[in-house]
Each structure stands twice: as C-alpha cells, then as structure tokens.
Symmetry: C2
Subunit: 356 residues, 2 copies
C-alpha cells in the first residue's frame, strides 16, 4: 500500500529502521538535559542547515506543530499589523490566527487554485508579510521570484514563509526571507508531532524589542527563550525527543542521496503526473496555470469521476488523498514527497492513464 | 539497565511492542482527520477516564507538553490574579509563567523538601489556585486533604493541579478540583512529546467568559477550540498521533493490571525504599516529614557519598537520577513509576543496603 495523502503521508522508507535503533540506543527514554540529547539535537540542526543551505544567522527551533508556529510567529513578530497572501484554507488559517490575536491583519486574496499577480506595491511600514509557499489545500505554489520581490520593496518588513508541505524541495534564497517553517509529517516522511521553526537574527531582535516594550510574546516558546536553550542544543520543555532523533536520521539519508537529486526527481515525478492527467479525458490539473502548479502536492480535478478513479487506484494499493474541504468529492490530491520514488510515480501514472 | 531518572524515565515494558504494532497498522502515517484516528483518540480518552475515575463533566485534551499546559492554563483561566503554592523548581516555574503573562501572580512558599502548613485562609476572590501535587525536583508530595480543602473555602476559585510526575498513582477527588495535567514520559512510561490536559466545564466557561470580554486566550489551543475538536475526537492541529496511540495502549495495559494494584505496589516500593535509606548510615530521605514524602519520586540525601552510591548502583545497571539543580551532587532521585516492578525495587533496596 502506498499513501499519497499530503500529510501525514507515507513514511520515509528508512524510518522504521531508525525507530528500532532509537529503542536500542535508549533515545525513547533519554533526558532532554543530557549530553546525548544535545548531540542528537545539534546533529539534526546542522544536517538541516546543510540540506537546505541555511546561513549562519538563522536559528532552528523544535516546537509542537506548524500550527503552533503560526501562533508564535504572530505573537513574537507582530506588534500591530501583518499582511497575508491568502489562496486556500491554510494561508487563510494563518491570517485568522493573526486576527484572533488582535492584530490588524490584512489579506490579499487569490481564488482557489491560483496564485497572485506578480507585482505588488507593498506598504513599506508593514511589520510582517506572510507567504504560504505551497497551499496544501489546492496545490498552488508560489514562484521564488514572487517570494523574493518583497525584500527590496520593503526592507524593514519581516518576510515569513510557510513551507509546510513543500520542504525539502524548494531552494529558498535566505537573503530574501526572515523565517521559514515546516512540520515533519509531510516532505520529511516522519510520524507527526514536531514543527520546525527557522528564523534569522532580525526575528530575534524584533521579539526582543516587543518584549522590552512590555508586549507579551508568550513564555517558554518565545524566541529569546527558544534561542537561549537552542544555544545549548536544548529545548525549553521536554520535547518530542524521538521525533528530533528521527528527523536527524532522515536528513542524513537525504544528504546521502543528495538534495539536487531529490529536487530533480521531484520535478520529474510532477512532470509525468501533470502530463498524464492533462491528456486524460476524465481529469485535469486543478491549477490551470502551469507555472503555479505545486511540485509537491499535485491536485487533480476529477469531478464526477472521483470515486471511479479512486477505486481503480486503491485496487492496486495506491491511496490518493481526498480533495480539501468543499473539493472533497471532486478532486484528488497526490503527495509527491522524497519517499515517493520515481518507480512509484511511473506506476501511478500508468494506472491513471488506464483509468476508464 | 534500569533507568530511575524521574522523567523521561524507563519506558513501560510494553511500549516497544506497541510501536511495532503501530507501524504494522499504519498509525505512524495516519491522518488526524480520519475515522481511524478518532477511534484511537476516543479510546485513549475513555481509557484514561476509567483508569483515573474522571467524571463526565471533565474533558481530556492532547497538547505538546506539560510546560505548554502551564502557559495555556494561565492564558485561558486567569484574567488578573492567580495564587501559587511554590516549594521547588517546577511549582516556581508555573508561578513565573503567570508573571511573564502579566498576571498578578502571588505565591506561598515552603522550603525545598517541605510542604505547606495544613490550613490556609484563602482570599475567596482568587480566580485560580495552582497546586503542584508532586514536586519533581525535591520529592515532596501534597496530601489529598491539603488539595481538597480549597473548594469549600473558595468555591469560585478554579483549582488546578500539576500532577506531572505522580499520575497515575494519585486518586484525586474530582469534585474538589477543576483541572489536572501530566505529561506522558513519566508515570505512563512513554516517549516524550505529549501533554495531557484535563479540565472541567467550569474551566471551559471561564475561558469563554474571558474570550467574550475580548481578552486573548490564544488561538488553536484555547479551551473552546480544543473542546470543539475533542467533541469529534480530533485535535486542532496535526498532533503526535503515535504518542496518543501509545498512551491508549499503555492505559489498556494499566487497566488490565488494575489501578488499585498499581497504587498498592507504588506504596510498597516507596515504603521499602524509604525504610532502607532511613536505616542507612550514608543516606537518608531528603523530605524529613514522612507524610510529605513523594510516593513516585523518591529523593535520597546522599551528601558526599553521592558519587560512591551512584557508582555502586550503576555497576549493577541501576541508573538513579541526579539531584535537581543545586542538589545535583548531593542528592539522588529515584522514579517509582508503574514500569518499575516490585522485584526491581527489591533489588534496588538490596543494592542500597549494601552500599559501603
């Protein structure tokens, strides 16, 4: 059985072996104040920096979930106003969280399955610009040019990128953004229960500045507290130690395979998938603009044929994800993560081509 | 090797088998919006209600850690003022979090290794009374009479009990308290990364009342949002699904063994331990008042003999926890959790008796 739901998704194929090793090595009952934990935590962070090309003025923090990072981002980085680019359920939720926290959160919207016009005039006094690189609900993906345009226009704004369902695929230009985050149960193929928050020194400075003005930035998971613990390769609370260990191990596997190979394979798999469904009479890519199509969450508009297509795939052990929300019965979503091999996608495409 | 550190501690002996089953059953890549997850979540909650005798006006929520619950408790249940009973590092941290969140948080302090005078006159306008049932740092444990006295004195105050390192041992009278919480890596013998927050309808009403007054109670993990998701046996964010599954399985194991047997064995193990160290020339219980001695985190004052005792135990594969903070080199802590069998404690006591 192969799971194509876009998260939690199919585990990376090495995870079960790493879990067995974790039990043998006592990771599952290890103190988070021990030297052994510090080694595990440091190794996961250094591996991630190498994998994604993260510069040294960025810090990596382990928290509960990407949902938590939405809240902590607003709490730590916004005094009054944030701007959100919203084109689906998840970018919408990020905006809602800012509103719920009492911020003046404005949004620029695009219809489901679309991205945004390429040039925006941004108010340069904005504190934070929130971008969702890959809208998991619709399979629309922002271009790097789009993301990178804001730094020049508004050098003082913090630019924050939700890359929950795209990393490790995208190659960000870290000089153009201030923060990026993801959760481990998607592209990294791990059991759920860990969010990874990457921020630069500008974010730390902003949080400290809010704190010094007496504005609440939370307690154990505010940026200064996360940073002072991370400097010791520790965490403020008892974290998901096993999850951090497994992340480090899967990153080692990714590094061994090579990130450029992972990226090229991702594009190859997406290309043969979109080609097959574009040519098929019963389905088509939901995102019509080819440049806006996600490389990691591939969404097929399947209309009345959804059940038929699903059944034929499931009969061969291939389990697609349902469409999101109102699209539950008319779309199918296919995760294209590092755990899904070229051979798997070639078989998937064969099965799709033969659906009738 | 047997790990006596008071958390993360020795795993419950069935955990590795349950993890293997979880991989076989696809729990590790299960969607938290699936029926299968709802079954797992419901089963863990119902098992816990049965195990601890939790009444139906209480709700069980899965969050990241007990540290998170400190923050969420203050955020959701306190508008202005809370009272904290502080007798060690962890009760102190709970108080600090309230202060950091801008509340008028007062404290009543007792020296390390002691509990509080039995009768307190409480200001009945207090919103919240925070009690730490078992101070993990010192091994001092509150009596049930102490905890239960507050309801009558101050019926409108919410009474919140941190039972991080004592559950499932204590048998709370849920008509006398409003909330209790723990994390899974201690008494439940699970890998770290999950906090369990138990609250009654009075807590929900308080959070709703703060929210209706425009006071921020957080976003995805505020009580009304947790409740509306929990009613569907779901969680607001992608949670630690494996952790929730394992909790349910270990609770089944505990229920099979019987909670009264677990409680009796806990008391037996604590009794033989305290008896042995009380009679020993090189060590003594740190908590001098026998009625204040923890049944689940047993702390020995070992002074200059700490290294000697530690080495002799470790030579037999018995690994005690260090003393906490400034007591690191002069005390040893021994977790007495359900995973530590009577036979294990009988051997530990033999080894301790023979230390010279």
């Amino acid at each position: 059985m192969i799971n194509f739901t876009p998260g939690p998704s199919q585990l990376y194929f090495t995870v079960e072996t790493h879990v067995r090793q974790a039990f043998r090595d006592g990771v599952t009952s290890m103190s988070h104040r021990s030297k052994e934990f510090e080694v595990i935590s440091k190794s996961a962070k250094e591996g991630l920096k190498e994998l994604l090309g993260i510069p040294n003025d960025f810090h990596i923090f382990f928290v509960g979930s990407a949902t938590e990072i939405w809240e902590r981002t607003i709490q730590n980085l916004v005094r009054e106003q944030s701007l959100h680019f919203v084109n689906g359920a998840f970018s919408k939720r990020f905006h809602e969280i800012a509103t719920q926290l009492g911020k003046c959160a404005t949004k620029i919207e695009a219809p489901l399955g679309q991205i945004f016009e390429s040039n925006y005039k941004i108010d340069s006094t904005l504190e934070l610009i929130a971008l969702t690189h890959n809208e998991t609900s619709t399979g629309a993906m922002l271009s790097m040019d789009f993301i990178n345009q804001f730094r020049t226009q508004s050098p003082d704004s913090l630019i924050v990128v939700d890359a929950v369902s795209s990393l490790p695929y995208p190659q960000f230009n870290f000089s153009k953004i201030d923060s990026v985050f993801f959760s481990v149960q998607k592209g990294f193929g791990l059991p759920a229960g860990l969010g990874i928050w990457i921020v630069n020194d500008r974010c730390i400075a902003k949080a400290e500045s809010l704190q010094s003005k007496g504005i609440s930035i939370g307690t154990y998971h505010n940026l200064p507290t996360l940073l002072s613990n991370a400097k010791k390769n520790q965490t403020p609370e008892t974290p998901n130690v096993l999850g951090i260990y497994l992340l480090g191990k899967v990153i080692e596997d990714f590094l061994r395979r090579g990130i450029s190979i992972i990226r090229k394979e991702t594009e190859y798999k997406a290309a043969i998938f979109y080609q097959a469904i574009s040519a098929h009479p019963l389905m088509q890519p939901f995102v019509s603009d080819a440049n806006a199509r996600s490389q990691t969450v591939l969404v097929a508009e399947t209309g009345n044929h959804t059940e038929l297509i699903k059944k034929q795939l499931e009969a061969h052990g291939f389990f697609p994800g349902d469409g999101y929300g109102e699209q539950k019965k008319t779309q199918l979503r296919f995760a294209n993560f590092p755990t899904h091999s070229k051979e798997t996608f070639e078989r998937l495409v064969d099965l799709l081509v033969n659906v009738n």
